[in-house]
């Protein structure tokens, strides 16, 4: 996965490092160059002093007063040689070394290795004095100066590296801060996933706002589409069921026994099919942004409905549910639990218990104290992929809807005997992200 942070950090870091390196090299080079110029001009000055103190006749000699004392101290780093004709005068500082320079017209500077390996800058110039050719070479040890320049160069390098590190860290922090709204956005989207809200908060930085708007539009559109298709299905149900009721009532009143039985049988079948397909189509599934499921409110409400639908049964419906919401569609959960409770209410002697668990994922259990189901039949009830026209009407419609919902959420359904109540126990387990 590409990281914006790394990419931006690398870009800025590499660019800045190149610039700083160039500055560092240029500063080093120009400092050295300027220092050499300065030394060379001083050497030129010394050469002129030497020339002034030079006497050619009778024998070439240099007036000691015109020469600085550093030229007399051995290996002081300041040297000269003066060549007049065949005679060469050396500064005392040279001791028994010499400065080997070429005799050329005019003046030039050259670098030489001097006594004790000192890096020398040598200024060479040819003069005419009393008809004689005079070659003066004045040298100075650049060692101390180069050391100073190196120290300066090192300090500058250190400062540059520190600046680079600071800039990189600053950039990193800046990027992280700049991207913080995206992190917030991700948390908000997760809240929508959990069903805690249906829209993203409107306030966002200008760069992120269009994304938030687009996401909100998408959420609204999806919710609208779901509501529309659910409404359309509800309308279809209404449109089909009322005429079907009329057909049934007309048959009950106006037909002979055989025709009535047949028509009622077929009407019943249509009713089952319509109910099943509508119930299936109503399932929103895991990805829906609908209302979230709150077991502590919805389970008591459902229990009240079931008790009211079977008032003569005197059922005791109990529950143990956590007080939190789940990011699953409320209508789906009501449909599933309603069918399970309805089934339990039909078979229970007197008690039905609902358990909702959230450890680690949503887990629903409905148990009753009815006759339960023999193990060999459990398979038949839970089998999957049975074709519509193969299932016997009136036996398992409720469970088939439960199965549809559970499998839409990628969960699993488990039927067995209740340990505590002795009847049927149906457990629906949902995957962790739900």
């Amino acid at each position: 996965m590409i990281s914006l942070q790394r990419r931006l950090g690398l870009g800025i870091g590499a660019g800045l490092a190149l610039v700083l390196l160039a500055v560092w090299v240029a500063v080093g080079w120009s400092t050295l160059h300027m220092s050499e110029e300065y030394v060379a001009s001083r050497l030129e000055h010394d050469a002129e002093n030497l020339l002034a103190g030079l006497r050619v006749k009778p024998k070439p000699s240099i007036n000691a007063e015109s020469v600085s004392t550093v030229y007399r101290r051995p290996h002081s780093g300041h040297y000269y040689t003066v060549t007049v004709g065949d005679t060469t005068l050396h500064s005392r500082s040279l001791w028994d070394d010499t400065l080997q320079v070429a005799d050329r017209d005019g003046s030039y500077t050259v670098r030489l290795a001097g006594p004790q390996g000192q890096p020398l800058l040598v200024y060479v110039r040819r003069y005419e004095r009393d008809g004689q050719r005079v070659l003066i070479a004045v040298a100075e040890d650049l060692g101390p100066m180069e050391t100073t320049i190196d120290e300066f160069q090192n300090a500058l390098g250190f400062i540059f590296v520190a600046a680079l590190v600071l800039v990189l860290v600053g950039t990193r922090l800046g990027i992280r801060r700049g991207l913080a709204p995206l992190d917030d956005l991700r948390r908000d989207v997760e809240r929508i996933e959990r069903g805690e809200t249906t829209q993203l908060p409107a306030e966002a930085p200008a760069e992120v706002a269009p994304l938030v708007d687009a996401l909100n539009r998408l959420l609204r559109l999806t919710a609208q589409r779901l509501a529309r298709s659910r409404n359309a299905l509800g309308d279809l149900a209404h449109a089909l069921k009322t005429p079907l009721a009329l057909i049934m009532h007309t048959a009950e009143d106006h037909m002979d026994e055989a025709a009535r039985a047949r028509l009622l049988g077929e009407s019943e079948r249509i009713r089952e099919l319509v109910n099943r397909e509508l119930a299936r189509a109503r399932v929103a599934g895991a990805a829906s942004p609908g209302q979230h499921f709150r077991p502590d409110e919805d389970v008591p409400a459902l229990a009240n409905v079931v008790r009211s639908l079977y008032p003569e049964r005197g059922l005791s419906i109990t529950w143990s549910v956590p007080a939190r919401s789940f990011a699953v569609d409320r209508e789906d959960m009501l449909e599933m639990l309603g069918n399970l409770l309805d089934n339990a209410a039909k078979w229970a002697r007197s008690r039905v218990h609902v358990t909702v668990d959230d450890d680690p994922a949503l887990h629903l259990v409905v148990e009753d104290d009815g006759p339960g189901c023999p193990p060999e039949k459990l398979d038949a009830i839970t089998r999957r992929g049975v074709r519509l026209d193969e299932e016997t009407p009136g036996t398992g419609l409720g469970l088939s809807i439960v199965r549809t919902i559970v499998s839409d959420y990628g969960g699993s359904l488990e039927l067995g005997r209740s340990d505590t109540l002795g009847g049927l126990r149906v457990a629906a387990r949902f995957p962790t992200h739900a």
């Binding site: 149900a237 009322t242 009721a245 009532h249 109910n275 409400a301 009211s308 008032p311 209508e331």
Partner: protein, 222 residues
């Protein structure tokens, strides 16, 4: 027993009215939410059969409005909308029973009669006071000595209302309301005639007359 049927589909409405009349109920009908709401507020119904998908005002709104006014009339919701979240919403709005379309008329009658028995505080499989038992399907009454008397439509309606309101003082006008259709000829003196006929079948002591006030139906004291 006076029942309001609220249903916008005319064929089904007619069927319901006919079947309920045949079962000995006095039936008023409404085909939209606004009329239904007004009728429910004004008329003293014993039960209401309410569709949810109604023109002008939804059935749930109508039901909520009755309950907000403190009207405790038993209501059966009769609707094609049978998802469990809709059932939950129905009961939260204050209905007492919920029947999904398409339905068998017999089931509606059984549930309606059970609802009326529950509302009168007499849960059980049949309408009975003391040793008198009413057979709602055959519209007959069986007395302590085991004799079964056939009842005419009006006698049946009157006796059922008496039995489901046993021990209560019932005025003639109230009896008229619950035994006759809205637009019938409502002569309260006719009630006296039917009370006398019931006394002949059950025994005089079952129905006590309070002069100027009305009648009380109750098990005769020892």
């Amino acid at each position: 027993m006076r029942v309001l049927v609220v249903e916008d589909e005319s064929g089904l409405r007619a069927n319901l009215k006919q079947a309920l009349k045949a079962a000995g109920y006095v039936v008023d009908v409404a085909d939209n939410g606004v009329d239904a709401e007004a009728l429910g507020h004004v008329e003293p119904y014993d039960a209401i059969v309410l569709d949810l998908g109604l023109p002008r005002r939804s059935g749930l709104d109508v039901l909520r409005s009755w309950r907000a006014q403190g009207n405790p009339v038993p209501v059966i919701i009769l609707t094609a909308r049978d998802a469990w979240n809709e059932k939950v919403a129905g009961f939260q709005a204050g209905c007492d029973d919920y029947l999904a379309k398409p339905f068998h008329m017999e089931e509606l009658l059984v549930r309606l009669s059970a609802l009326l028995r529950r509302a009168s505080g007499r849960p059980g499989q049949e309408v009975a006071v003391g040793d008198i038992a009413l057979d709602e399907e055959r519209q007959t009454v069986t007395t302590a000595d085991g004799t079964t008397h056939a009842l005419t439509g009006t006698e049946f309606r009157l006796l059922r209302y008496f039995m489901l309101n046993a021990g209560k003082l019932l005025s003639k006008s109230r009896l008229t309301d619950h035994v006759y259709e809205y637009d019938d000829d409502r002569d309260s003196n006719v009630i006296e005639v039917y009370v006398n006929r019931l006394r002949q079948k059950l025994g005089r002591e079952w129905i006590e007359t309070r002069r100027g006030q009305g009648y009380i139906f109750r098990k005769p004291g020892p």
